[in-house]
Each structure stands twice: as C-alpha cells, then as structure tokens.
C-alpha cells in the first residue's frame, strides 16, 4: 500500500519503475487483473466485473528480441515493445488481455497475442472507424457483448448498478487528473511534466480506488509547495500517442523547457473525457469511448467543407490546450510505422501553422538509444523558441 511516511513522489517512482508490483501483491490476495492496451478499452466494464484493469507498457531500455520472432517489424516499435515484454513473461500475473481496434497493428496482431501468451481470457473490442449514428448503435452492442463475455469469465453478472459505480469512480479519477493539470497553468508550473506523466502512468497499474488515493496525495503534496520548485522556461506541449516512458519529457525539462500540456494517451487523451451519468451506462460508455476520445484512429468527416475548417475540427483540442496552458511550442512525437498518427502529420503541421505555434516533429523508434539524437533536436528547438 501507499507509504505515507515517504514523499509521495518516491511512491510514484516505485510504482513507475517496478511497474506491476502492486498488481502482483493483489493477485496473491486472489484478485484478477485484466491487461489492456490503448485508450479504447472501457475500463469501467473491467472494474464493474470485479476484476482490475492493468495497462501493459513497453520499455525503451529493453531491446526487442523475442517479440520480433512472433510479430513482423512492420508494427510500430512501441507496440512491439509491449508485445516483447509480454512474451518475455513480464505480465504473466495477468489473467486476461483485452485489445481494441486502436490501430491496424492491434487488429492484425491479436492472434499473435492470443497464441503467444498464457492467459485464460482474451477479448477483442471492435471499435468503429467513424462516428456516425450507426456507429453508436453498433458500439453499444459491442460493449454489451464485452460486458457479457467478461461477466462469463469472472463468474459475475455485470449489472447497470455495477457499471454506474465504476463510472463514478473513473469520473472522480478524471476530475483529479484535471486538478493536477490545473497546477501546470502557473509559470513556472507547480508540477513538472516528468512528475505528472509518471504519476498518471503509475496510476494505470493500480485499482481505481488506489489510483484515486494516489492522485489525491500527489495533489496535496504539490498544492503544499506554495512556490514552484521549477525554473521559468519555454512552455512545451507534447502531441502524440502513448508516451509511457518518461525520457522524452525528462529530456525537454533537463534542457530548460517545462512540459505543461499534452494530448498523449497516458495524459489528456485518456484522462480528460468524462462519461455522462444518468442514462443507460453502456450507451454513455459507448459515447465516451467512441466520440469523446480524440484519437487519429477515428475518421471524422469534413463537416466544414474546407481544409482549414476540417483541421480546426479535428485538432481543435490542441488549440484549446495551447491557449489554456499558454504554450510556447509543441513537439509532435510520432513512432515510426504508427499508421494513425503518421498519416495525419501533414494536416497536423498545417494546423500548428494556423495557430502560429512553433512545432518540432520527431519520428522515433521507442528506444533509449536515440536519446542523444533527440537531445540535439529538442535543444535546438528550445534555442529557436528562445531567440
């Protein structure tokens, strides 16, 4: 459990570095953990089933070896790393794994996961690629099927009340994350990007109640600072997919920038949208996961009729965050072979240009070996902003 004697960030670091140790403890107590990847798995359904969701992570310090014998290298290196760690037994404490249609690699590799890993439960969540009326009808049914499948596995029929409880707990968690982001608005921010992203990443390895407790303690600790321990510097926005290794954010901050906002999956993308309460919980979850999560995986039709209007609709969240967090420059960080983000790069660049916001586009291979190359680019970018 959380040790209140220590500085809370020591606890966060422990959860982050020894990722999954709490889950291993709880497994010994008889709890079942269900692993997942991506922003699109409804964690509320897993929690409502009485099992516990656990986000599987990659590791940029671990060379991808065994995984590449089972998965082709056309898949993005982040996903390959997650798979590699999994087949090396890193997540053997899990009871099951849920993979959504978050990108083409996730669909195509689903069978490799289910053949290569020793879990007794596998489920694939089919996410519509568009956000039309029929998509919601389909997705309602898909989530209902997931509820039944998981209920059968855990031996517990998941009721609407179970779902409502879980929705409340996750909405609470998202409020706390928002409150943490509020602390970034000061200049310099009260909390560093490294601390914040590490906290959120640690949270994804914990049961929701413990994650809520952890975030509360971090909030208390940071609010108690009064004055920021950081130096003023360019306020940097990180735009990209899952950044579950802290090195890029740490690098920006070592070089004098302050990371103040993001769209990343283990950041604003996953943690900002809340689920509507009151109506049918499955329908509310379908709406939250399909429409409120702004991921390039989903095709959104050009309703504006112009290119400028289209990019403003698709990437409007970036502009909102940039204003809200008074951003000086942005880093668009894309993994090599990431098809959803890769295809969007030119349009995203055009959007940044329309905001008149300096942008550094980095394509990387999810490996600690590229840090010194990234250092030159990031430092030059910070120098450019500071001219």
């Amino acid at each position: 459990m959380i040790d209140k004697e220590n500085n809370i960030f020591d606890t966060v670091k422990n959860y982050y570095n020894d990722y999954g140790f709490r889950a291993k403890d709880l497994k010994r107590e008889g709890k079942k953990f269900i692993g997942y990847v991506c922003s699109f798995v409804p964690l509320e359904i897993i929690t409502a089933s009485g099992s516990l969701p656990f986000r599987v992570r990659g590791n940029i310090h671990e060379p991808i070896t065994k995984g590449d014998t089972l998965l082709e290298t056309i898949v993005c290196p982040y996903y390959r790393s997650v798979f590699d760690l999994s087949v090396k037994g890193e997540y053997d404490f899990l009871s099951g794994l849920v993979i959504p249609h978050g990108c083409d690699s996730m669909v195509r590799s689903f069978s490799a996961w289910s053949y290569g890993l020793p879990f007794s439960y596998f489920h694939f969540v089919n996410i519509p690629s568009v956000c039309d009326e029929s998509s919601f009808e389909f997705f309602d049914a898909e989530l209902d099927a997931f509820r039944k499948s998981l209920g059968k596995f855990t031996g517990k029929a998941i009721t609407e009340e179970h779902l409502r409880q879980a929705i409340r707990a996750y909405n609470e968690n998202r409020d706390k994350v928002r409150a943490l982001y509020e602390l970034r608005k000061a200049d310099p921010p009260l909390i560093s990007g490294t601390e914040l992203t590490m906290t959120l990443t640690a949270g994804s390895s914990l049961p929701i109640e413990e994650s809520n407790d952890l975030f509360d303690q971090v909030l208390t600790e940071v609010k108690g600072r009064g004055k920021s321990p950081l130096k003023k510097g360019p306020r940097i926005f990180i735009d990209g997919a899952c950044l579950d290794n802290i090195e890029l954010i740490k690098l920006v901050e070592e070089l004098g920038g302050n990371v103040v906002a993001d769209t990343i999956c283990n950041g604003a993308r996953d943690h900002f949208p809340k689920t509507d309460v009151g109506g049918d919980p499955i329908h509310a979850l379908a709406h939250r996961y399909l429409d409120k999560i702004n991921c390039p995986k989903t095709y959104r039709a050009n309703r504006a009729g112009t290119f400028e209007g289209d990019i403003a609709n698709r990437f409007g969240d970036v502009g909102t965050y940039a204003r809200e967090f008074r951003v000086d420059g942005a880093i668009l960080y894309v993994y090599k072979y990431c098809d959803p983000f890769g295809f969007e790069v030119p349009a995203r660049k055009a959007y940044y240009q329309s905001l008149n916001l300096p942008l550094l586009h980095l394509e990387d291979i999810y490996s600690a070996g590229t840090i010194s190359q990234l250092r030159t680019r990031v430092q030059a970018f910070l120098e450019m902003i500071g001219q």
Binding site: S372, T376, M384
Partner: protein, 280 residues
C-alpha cells in the same frame, strides 16, 4: 581591454576551434577521436597558439556540436543548428536556407529575413545522407577523400546508384566496378544519390534563396554541383565550410557578453584552466 571569444565545435568526425576578436579569426581543425575531452583541450591550445593568446585572455567560450557536453572548459553550450545559423548569417546575411553536411548528420535550417531560425530538419536513425557515405565509397574505390569531388566532375555518364543504405550502396558500387563502370561515373552517381537524399529531407523546409551549403560536405565540388542541379537553386559555399559552426559558437559568446555588459549583469564563466594533457 580587448575581448576574445572562442567557439569550439566537436563534430562526429572533426573538432574545430575558432578564436574571434574585432578584426579576424584564428581557426584550427583536428579529427575527433574517442577521447573528446582531451582533444577539446588540444585543439583549444593550438588555436590559442595560432592567435598568440593565453587562455585567460579569452572572455567567453561556447561549445557546440555532437560532443558539446564534453568540453569541460566551455561557459555555455548551444546546438550546432543554432551555431551554424549564426555563423552562416554572419558570413552571408542574405542566407535563407542552410544545408550542413557533416560526418554523420545532415541538417537543413530555414532562416527568416532577420536572421532568426524558423525551422530545421535533421536526418534521423540513419547516417546514409552524410559525409560518412562518401568516406565509405571513397574507400571502396580507393580514391583519396579530397579527390572524390574533382574526379566525379570528369564523368559524362553518371551511373545510377539505387541503394540508399551505405553498406548496400558500397556493394552496388563494388559490383559496378567489376563490370567495368568508370570510377568517375560511379562517383558522380554517388553524389547524385546523396544529393537526392539530402534534398528530399531539406525540401520539407521549402527551400528559398540564398542557399548556403556548409560542413565538410561543402568541400566536395562534385556534391555541390549535384545539389545545385537537383535543387534548381544556386548554391553558395563559405570559404572555410568546416568552421562555420565554431564561428557561430564564438559569435553566440560575443552576443552573450555584449548583452551582459549592456544590462550590467554579471557574466558567469568557468576558470580558464586546461587540464594537463599526457603525451603518449
């Protein structure tokens, strides 16, 4: 008291030092080895000798390049992107696009009318578009590196090099050689393939005149010709393209000192001591 500013640029292949005062510059160049710290000292010492100065006379020292963190006596570090831009804009105030072809890196830098950097690109993950590519091919063809450019200009029928991977291009060149393709044609082909790769990257910046090519690659006339032809822009080359980064670093130091003097703020500098260098 006269102020002197030093810039030291540790690249992947060459280490360069420039000492600058109001009048002229003194520069010195040496190969970068595995012992960057020791070399930084040695190059600095030689530059001081050339400028007839003692180390404490240097007002400010800026380090740049890939080994910039390995210069223990530097007062500040800037990336080679910032320093090359500074050096080139000093030499060519009309510069809008800079292409720096180094030993392992190729960089494109876009400059606005006031001399500020507005964007940059760099090769990533692979050094196939850099000076190293030419070194490997020169070695395969047994042509001294400094003759590669001239020899390629003799070609009337440049061969096509289809591989962009340095290692495979080396094999391709070796097999063409055994089929009797002339060395000049192969070298011209290599330069065209290299220029093609560099331009593909730099074009992301929307190339505008004046285009300045710098770094070791700029000394290769064959490559400059290929770049200029394929870009469709006239390409300018500084007199000494190896030292523009170090020059820019020295100029960055000069700016810092002038600003501090203007604002009457204290200048933070390191103690002017060069570590003892053992001579093996």
């Amino acid at each position: 008291m006269t102020s002197y500013f030093a810039g030291i640029d540790i690249g992947s292949t060459m280490t360069k030092a420039v000492i600058l005062n109001k009048g002229g510059i003194a520069s010195i160049i040496g190969p970068t080895g595995p012992e960057q710290r020791r070399l930084a000292n040695k190059v600095m010492e030689e530059a001081l000798k050339k400028a007839s100065l003692s180390f404490p006379q240097i007002t400010y020292i800026v380090a740049t390049g890939y080994g910039r963190i390995n210069v223990p006596f530097s007062d500040k570090q800037f990336t080679e992107i910032t320093c090359h831009a500074k050096g080139i804009v000093h030499l060519f105030p009309q510069a809008r696009t800079i292409i720096d072809i180094g030993g392992q890196d190729v960089k494109g830098i876009k400059i606005d009318a006031t001399g500020k950097i507005i964007d940059f690109v760099m090769n990533d993950k692979c050094a196939a578009g850099s000076g190293r590519f030419i070194e490997v091919i020169a070695d395969t063809l047994e042509v001294p590196l400094d003759q590669v450019g001239e020899r390629s200009l003799q070609s009337k029928n440049p061969s096509k090099i289809s591989n962009i991977c340095t290692i495979w291009a080396q094999q391709e060149v070796a097999s063409s050689l055994s089929e009797g393709v002339a060395i000049a044609d192969l070298l011209a082909g290599v330069h065209q393939s290299l220029a093609d790769r560099i331009i593909r990257m730099v074009n992301r910046l929307r190339v505008e005149d004046s285009v300045i090519v710098t770094g070791g690659g700029a000394k290769n006339r064959g490559l400059i010709k290929a770049l200029s032809e394929q870009l469709g822009h006239k390409v300018l080359v500084p007199e000494d393209p190896l030292i523009t980064g170090a020059l820019g670093a020295a100029l960055m130091g000069k700016e810092i000192v002038e600003k501090a003097r203007q604002n009457n703020t204290p200048l933070e500098t390191k103690e002017r001591i060069l570590e003892e260098i053992e001579i093996l």
